[in-house]
Symmetry: C2
Subunit: 136 residues, 2 copies
DNA sequence: CTTGACCCTGTACTATAGTACAGAGTGTAT
DNA sequence: ATACACTCTGTACTATAGTACAGGGTCAAG
């Protein structure tokens, strides 16, 4: 089975080499197998997981939230209903985020439109139409 | 003109009272007017700005990014082209985030579907179909 | 057989975004 | 007039998410 060293994995995923140890400590990735002298040997799956973490981070999830997402992995020990409920909760969160971003997108487009029409009023469209919702 | 004290604004926007001072220091809000003895007097506009900051934070923007968003406010001193370009950049970022979240949404929906079909394979759909993109 | 590039552990430092607290002044309610 | 709730400033502490470094071991090339 193909394995990677720490620096290989770090390079492939574009993360700092120390972050791998950090994610291991934070239990976002399982402790990898070790070579005879104790070198970490990462698998393709570890690489996938690291990439997932990077992506989720860019989408504004915290490491704790990412852990929850990863734990949605279907474990035979857990009831289907429980996984279903948690997944639905995450789905709702994601949909809320999309909604918020779409509203921000609308405002930015509006600004571009206004700008192109050269109607420089000094008003701030971003504030004007994005301030509303208290809960996102 | 209607004004608010620090605690009133904090309560209205659901933020910690100290965060207001913090945002002022970080120049995310303008220093508010002061009463004769030096008490901060916030305007409706300050409240809108604080709500905007809260919303943008929930969408995964850092305070620096939020500052940039707020600076898109059309200033007469700045050329229309410059504002246009910056706004377009922000728009692209927002669209990338939406794309990423939609892909995550798809996976979560897939999981719910799989769960309902009771096909508990032990595979992790989240990892399987979200690992791919290196750049988001 | 040593030199350089890698690996190990533990610990310390950094940036971001708050949050809390001390010591002092203000404002009003009884 | 004195409690109490609020404000001010400055400074210190916290959590999150890394990032760097010291002191040591490993390994492959020359």
């Amino acid at each position: 089975m193909e394995t990677m060293t720490r620096s290989e994995l770090a390079k492939e995923c574009g993360v700092n080499i120390e972050s791998l140890r950090f994610y291991e400590k934070r239990r976002l990735i399982d402790p990898p197998k070790r070579s005879e002298v104790g070198y970490r040997l990462y698998s393709r799956e570890d690489a996938a997981r690291i990439r997932f973490i990077q992506n989720a981070k860019k989408l504004g999830f915290t490491l704790n939230e990412i852990m929850e997402l990863l734990k949605l992995r279907v474990k035979k020990t857990e009831s289907c209903e429980s996984v279903l409920a948690k997944t639905q909760t995450k789905l709702d969160e994601v949909e809320q985020k999309i909604k918020g971003l779409k509203s921000m997108k609308k405002v930015l487009k509006q600004m571009i439109h206004q700008c192109q029409e050269a109607t420089l009023t000094g008003d701030c469209p971003i504030l004007c139409s994005f301030e509303s919702g208290r809960e996102l």
